[in-house]
Amino acid sequence: MSAVATTTSLSIPEQQLAARGAVYQAFSLLMSSPSLIEMDDDFYTNCADMLAAGSAALPFAFKAYSLSEKLTSLSDSEKTQLAADYGSYFEIGSDGKMFHLREEVATAVASSKPKEELIRFYEFFGYQLDEKFQWQADHLSLQLEFVRFLIEAMWSTEDGERQCSFLMGQRDFVQRHIANWLAQTSNNVKTALPEHLYSDILVSCTEFIEHDLQWLNTTTATLEVN
């Protein structure tokens, strides 16, 4: 790899930012409803590439090779089945089991506080959802994409103060709105569908989030303000 480029004030290599962004993007796409996003023939291969390229350049050890390989080796019929399974497991509860991928439903919080804070985060950082996605602002795929958005925004600016702002936004958002519920959901899916690819994806995503949150905490430790 060539000489490492860094952001101006935080000394975080660009490659690392892109790597994190790629992994967030990959998991966001993989956990999106196939009925909502455009999926071409290379969808799963692209996701696999992002996971592979991303995990190789992360600032922490996270291996997604086996998941990448599984995604790359999917046959057409398996891809079709995977899309159908998404609807079954996460949208309609086809077999009497329903795994909710929305924070508010998954956590069964009686108030709208989680969603209000989500919206406040999105709004604060200028992430505006298209109208048809707004009702599920607390969906995992949207939350993951938002973090990728923050990472890219961090990369886009050369203002050190802004970079810190985006970085701490990532840390708090991941901690308060992904890490707080994903592990349980992931565990539920793994218990019910131990052999399923979606189980692999969610377990892997959870592991990634744990590592990334740890890295975010470490990286921002010296940036704390009162």
């Binding site: 490659q15 993007q25 996701c47 200028g126 298209d130």
Partner: protein
């Protein structure tokens, strides 16, 4: 701040291509956002901006609760966050309380519920067995085309009447949605089993008495009453936004008496609580009638003019004296609507004013000509006379005299034995009722659910007539009212003609589910044969249509959770529902009905659609404006039917389905499935539900004319003719016929043109129901506890019943109220799981021990979905009454008796059965440590109270 916006693609840093790396859910520029957002340091920063709303929409919940409550619906980022009562209602007059604020905990919870786990968001197709819960998500296109093919198969091969669209409580009050359903049904000819009689809510006894079912005023009328008897109703629970009128009326001097077997939240606030044994209310009412007659507290002038009390009856035959009895000309002319009185002024027979002047009542146009004015006639109420007829001299007497005899059979000491009340209580409340006029009876739908509910309503109407209270502001039977013309039918029939088939849900179930067998099993062969004989005779004679005799092939359930409870729960699921070849559930929320369906179509919830709601309890029409787009792939009912119609048209063209003739009620309709969609949308003129709302606004008298947009900006709009609390004028949108009869002396739409209490139809004579009379409620042998039920506080039918917060406000799971003594006898403690059973079935629920229950009864609030119970069985599993179609409710060819959709049809019986219970699972609770059980505590407290009184 830097201006160095990077031009590269972010993820290309890793050598990734641009494919699949774009943001999926937003169109914003990251680079722009990177330079224009605030500086974040900690979470509090995102909270610094004041929370504002993108939009505040007007709305309500069309859940058939009759609340019609105006809400502001707060929207931000395409999400409904909260709602709030709009609350600027005015009063109906200067001296009555106003209607605001209106709302309840269910409505204020909806912003949360609509995003809940129960929402159906995508079209689904069944994969496994029915009820197995295996689904496949499919597209709307696939769903509607497959449904269309099945629809065409059934319609062409078996006739469209083998397909039904069951509309329910989610549909009933949303006028645009119901109009859309009716239009679809009218175009295609499918059957619409109406739910009014189907759920046992049809007040047939009211219709029999005054020829209308609409006797209700606004809730403010309660404040104008001087005595208000809340009878078989529980408004503190079921009319939350309106209950204040009852308590405020007490400050105005109104005597409020609550009558119910169980102690209710309503009884808690009343001046008196009277608790007859379940099913003995007719005896109580007739006992009161006896007192009023005996003490001559009746309004003689009123009943002479307004009722059939002075009409003459042949003492030997029990039949009215008619013109056809008197001379050969009228006999040949079959003049059976000219009635007679005895005039005390001339001591002679005279024709009753307002009778005989119109043709025999026919169809819906039963309004007679003439006047009720007596002029110089002084009708006798009491006496017996000899009259010459074609058959010779006969003895005649008055209905009033016959009523006295009937009342004698229910005199207070006898009524007391039946009801379990002290006879002085009966006499006392009769005096209260008669002396404090105008008297009002506020009743609920429970009054309709007994086998002899019609006679109870007739007895209630009798009490009101005797005190001169019907048709008087602050008096009368407060039951229901509805707009005279809601634009529904004119919209449904526009351009296509009236091709609608409406069938009583009761007879539909009877035919489709072999309910005679059910009756025979539980009530004996003799009764089953007798009832069925009358049923078949009525259909054979054409008194009631034979809509239910063709096999049922396909069922749409729109806003209808039909499998939740029926009068023969599981049996219906097995013998009718389960035999359907195709079941389509159109619903916003998952339920047992959708669980057993073949296709489930997602329907928009209350804040995601445009509609109009009108409920006569307030003088306001209420808009439902779409605050946010429908969630997921849900659409409103109009759009769902449009898509189905579009698919039917498409597939009919592709399959070359020719138009066919269809006979509906004697009219020949041309059904051209290749035109289904074009007809449904009026050849493109109709775009969406807003157009229907506008149509209804434009075509309904009494609604101020304005655009949908203006209506939506206001939310609620006061209807015309609503200066006072009563619907007593022609300007309002609501029925005012009863007031017209009292104030303008227009004859009633009954055979006699009067408030009619005497029925000489041969079946009424045969069953001794010419006048109201007590009948012991039916019980199942070996099962000693009468099963009672009522509307719930924390749900409207099955809507919101599964909401986590609503459930948390109760016991956390379905519960059933039992008497402490009954519980102790069965070694059941509060909170234990009990098995409730009879010869038909069983279900399990948590025992809720309450001293408010009489011994010998159990009580359960309804609406709990079977999916919330063990083995998916709710109380419907023990209801045995679906075959109890009262013979006299199938009577016809007699004036106003005969099939009238939504007015006179067999009302489904939901009482008249019994159960027993036993301990199923002992449950341990922390509070039991070292304490006696709650049942024992209640009993001890009661005993202590008795001891104190004795000492």
């Amino acid at each position: 701040m830097t201006s160095g916006i990077k031009r590269r693609e972010f993820l290309q840093l890793l050598g990734l291509g641009t494919a699949a790396t774009a943001l999926q859910f937003t169109g914003v520029s990251v680079a722009q956002a990177a330079e224009n957002t605030g500086i974040y340091r900690k979470t509090e920063d995102v909270y610094r901006n004041k929370w504002t709303w993108d939009r505040v929409a007007r709305g309500t919940h069309g859940a058939n609760c009759a609340g019609n409550c105006a809400y502001n619906v707060y929207v931000r980022n395409g999400i409904v966050w909260r709602e709030e009562q709009q609350g600027w209602y005015g009063p109906s007059g200067d001296d009555v309380p106003d209607y605001g604020p209106r709302g309840c905990q269910k409505g204020l919870r909806h912003a949360k519920y609509m995003y809940g786990k129960q929402r159906v968001l995508y079209p689904m197709k069944r994969k496994g067995e029915r009820g197995e819960g295996k689904w496949e998500r499919i597209t709307w296109e696939q769903a509607t085309e497959e449904i269309a093919d099945k629809f065409i198969d059934h319609a062409v091969e078996s006739g469209p009447e083998t397909i039904s669209i069951g509309s329910g409580t989610q549909m009933a009050v949303k006028l645009a949605s119901l109009s859309a359903l009716y239009r679809f049904a009218s175009i295609t000819g499918v059957m619409v089993p109406e739910f009014y009689s189907g759920v046992g809510d049809l007040p047939t006894g009211v219709y029999m008495t005054v020829g209308k079912v609409y006797t209700g005023d606004t809730m403010a009328a309660v404040y104008k009453s001087k005595s208000c008897f809340i009878w078989m109703a529980n408004p503190a629970v079921t009319r939350i936004p309106d209950a204040h009128f009852f308590w405020e009326a007490r400050y105005n001097g109104t005597e409020v008496v609550a009558i119910s077997p169980e102690f209710t939240p309503t009884a808690m606030h009343a001046d008196k609580w009277v608790n007859p044994k379940p099913g003995t209310d007719i005896a109580l009412a007739m006992g009161m009638v006896h007192t009023i007659l005996k003490e001559k507290m009746y309004n003689a002038e009123y009943i002479k003019e307004q009722t059939d009390m002075p009409f003459l009856v042949n003492e030997e035959t029990g039949e009215f004296l008619l013109a056809a009895d008197m001379n050969i000309v009228d006999k040949l002319a079959v003049n059976d609507n000219t009635f007679y009185m005895w005039d005390e002024a001339t001591d002679s027979l005279v024709q009753a004013p307002g009778t005989g002047a119109a043709d025999k009542p026919l169809g819906r146009d039963r309004r007679k000509v003439g006047s009720l004015k007596l002029g110089d006639i002084k009708p006798a109420l009491e006496g017996s006379w000899e009259v010459k007829t074609l058959e010779g001299t006969v003895k005649v007497t008055t209905v009033f005299e016959l009523l006295k005899k009937r009342a004698e059979e229910h005199r207070p000491e006898l009524a007391a034995k039946i009801t379990g009340l002290n006879e002085n209580v009966i006499i006392d409340i009769a005096r209260t009722f008669a002396k404090n006029t105008p008297s009002m009876i506020y009743t609920g739908y429970a009054a309709c659910k007994w086998l002899h509910g019609d006679m109870l309503q007739r007895a209630m109407m009798l009490l009101l007539a005797l005190t001169g209270s019907t048709g008087v502001v602050g008096g009368g039977l407060q039951f229901s009212n509805a707009p005279k013309a809601r634009g529904i039918t004119s919209f449904a029939f526009a351009d296509v003609g009236p091709g609608l088939r409406i069938v009583s849900g009761t007879t539909w179930d009877y035919d489709q589910g072999n309910m005679k067998e059910l009756t025979e099993k539980h009530y004996g062969k003799e009764l089953a044969d007798d009832y069925d004989k009358k049923y078949q005779y009525s259909v054979d004679e054409g008194w009631f249509p034979e809509f239910g005799r063709k096999p049922w092939k396909m069922g749409f359930f729109a806003g209808n959770n039909g499998a939740n409870w029926r009068a023969a729960g599981e049996r219906w699921r097995e013998t009718a529902f389960g035999k359907l070849e195709t079941i389509v559930a159109m619903t916003p929320d998952a339920s047992v009905t959708s669980h057993y369906a073949d296709y489930v179509l997602p329907i928009a919830h209350h804040y995601e659609r445009a509609d109009l709601v009108m409920q006569a309890r307030t003088p306001y029409a209420q808009i439902v404006d779409a605050a946010v787009p429908p969630l997921g792939e849900s659409v409103d009912d109009f759009e769902a039917f449009r898509r189905i119609a579009e698919a039917i048209q498409k597939r009919a063209k592709e399959r070359g389905i020719a138009a066919f003739s269809d006979n509906v009620d004697g009219r020949t309709m041309r059904r051209d499935l290749q035109r289904t969609h074009d007809q449904y949308v009026m050849d493109g003129k109709l775009k969406d539900s807003r157009d229907i709302v506008q149509y209804i606004i434009n075509s309904t008298p009494g609604i101020p004319k304005m655009s949908y947009e203006e209506f939506a900006s206001k939310g609620m709009v006061r209807v015309e003719g609503s200066d006072g609390p009563a619907w007593d004028n022609d300007e309002s949108p609501y029925h005012s016929e009863i007031y017209d009869s009292v104030n303008k002396k227009k004859p009633y739409e009954t055979l006699t043109g009067r408030q009619q209490f005497y029925f000489d139809h041969e079946w009424y004579i045969e069953y001794d129901e010419t006048l109201p009379a007590h009948r012991d409620p039916l019980m199942l042998e070996g099962y000693p506890l009468q099963f009672m039920m009522g509307h719930a506080r924390h749900g409207i039918h099955s809507t919101w019943r599964d909401d986590s917060l609503m459930v948390a406000l109760q016991r956390g799971e379905p519960d059933i109220y039992v008497n402490p003594d009954d519980a102790l006898a069965r070694k059941v403690d509060d909170g234990d799981l009990i098995r409730v059973f009879n010869g038909e079935g069983e279900f399990f629920a948590l025992a809720h021990i309450s001293a408010g229950m009489q011994p010998g009864m159990v009580f359960m609030y309804h609406g709990w979905d079977p999916m919330m119970f063990k083995d998916r069985k709710n109380f419907s599993s023990v209801i045995t009454t679906a075959g109890l179609i009262k013979p006299t409710s199938m009577a016809g060819d007699w004036g106003h008796l005969g099939y009238q959709p939504l007015e006179f049809a067999p009302n489904q019986t939901y009482k008249d059965f019994s159960v027993d219970f036993e301990l199923a699972e002992k449950r341990e609770y922390a509070f039991r440590d070292g304490q006696s059980s709650p049942a024992e505590q209640i009993r001890s407290a009661q005993q202590a109270k008795v001891n104190n009184q004795v000492s």
